[in-house]
């Protein structure tokens, strides 16, 4: 009996605590609104995230195709019309190794486009994560982003970073173009 008495008395107080600490109607409605906004934002973000990778892949594929077909175009426009290279008739053992190298060298270009199109929200720390992994490849991009952050205002630095990275991607593909041309000569 001695042990039960204070506990039953507390039970009333516990019930008091249960009744008095509750969400107000307004708080509940505000919280629901915030929750639904958060869900909608997340859904939109997922859609954008799915799209931006396609942009990077499309740009890379287009440039690769252009580079591969460029020798044929050049020959055609110069009027020789005899030797077709690139994806043309002379695709042989000699062109296979440069072709594989070309595909390999296009990876850094693709990563550049990936960062150029990747959404950046609220100073997101995961912005420079590469497909979810921290890799040494990202070091250069971390450095570029850091420089941009130091030199430009908070509203501009991401855009400038994107421009730099996009140009870097184009440079990579230009170098691949030069390499492909020289290998086929």
């Amino acid at each position: 009996m001695k042990r039960v008495e204070p506990r039953s008395e507390w039970d009333d107080q516990f019930q008091g605590l249960h009744k008095k600490v509750t969400l107000h109607k307004k708080e509940k409605a505000t919280l629901l609104y915030k929750l639904n906004s958060q869900i909608t934002r997340m859904e939109n973000k997922t859609k954008t995230h799915q799209r931006f990778t396609y942009y990077a892949v499309l740009t890379t594929s287009f440039l690769l195709l252009f580079i591969l077909l460029s020798p044929s175009f050049i020959n055609y426009t110069h009027g020789s019309g005899v030797e077709l290279t690139g994806l043309g008739v002379n695709f042989s053992k000699e062109t296979a190794i440069p072709f594989i190298l070309l595909l390999l060298f296009s990876t850094p270009g693709f990563i550049c486009f990936y960062y150029a199109f990747k959404p950046h929200e609220n100073d997101d720390d995961s912005f420079l994560d590469l497909f979810g992994y921290e890799m040494s490849v990202t070091l250069l991009f971390i450095f570029i982003l850091w420089i941009c952050k130091k030199l430009f205002g908070p509203s501009q630095y991401v855009t400038i970073f994107r421009i730099i990275v996009f140009l870097l991607g184009l440079t990579v593909f230009y170098l691949i173009f030069v390499f492909w041309q020289s290998m086929l000569k």
Partner: protein, 176 residues
Amino acid sequence: MNNDMNKHKINAWYDEYSNDIHQYISYMINDHFHALDLTQDTFFRAYLNITSFHGEKPKAWLYCIARNLTIDYIRKENSKKLIIKKLIPNKITLRTPEQIATLNESEHELYVSLQKLKRNYRDVIILRKIQELSIEEAASILGWSKSKVKTNLQRGLQSLKKQMEEGGYLHETSGT
């Protein structure tokens, strides 16, 4: 289409359980405003992981999510408190809003003593005594056996009594 269905489900659960979840978090962390954030996070996390929920008791599942979030929050806060504690020793800060002002003296004393308890004891007292959940429900939320819930509740109440004695409250409430 599936997303809409999940959203409706979360909204329905929110209507039904948000008060309980918020109350549980409020008592666990003693901070009304952060409790609001954590309540929102609980339902958001539930939405993100709704495909992994196949049970029939969403309440227990939501409580589990809320508990995990609360534990994470307490761990983060504890590291901050280590520094603050040296500057303001033994000071309980009641940061909950006007609701605390509506508590009568004995409820307030109980509330203060409750905040000083070990997390496990506080957990089980909040679920069993304040929220009046059954032993089975509390056991499934806490991931304990029924006997562990009973034992911890008993020890928690003893510890609460001790806290109230130390605080000089018990002679008024129990009449000892």
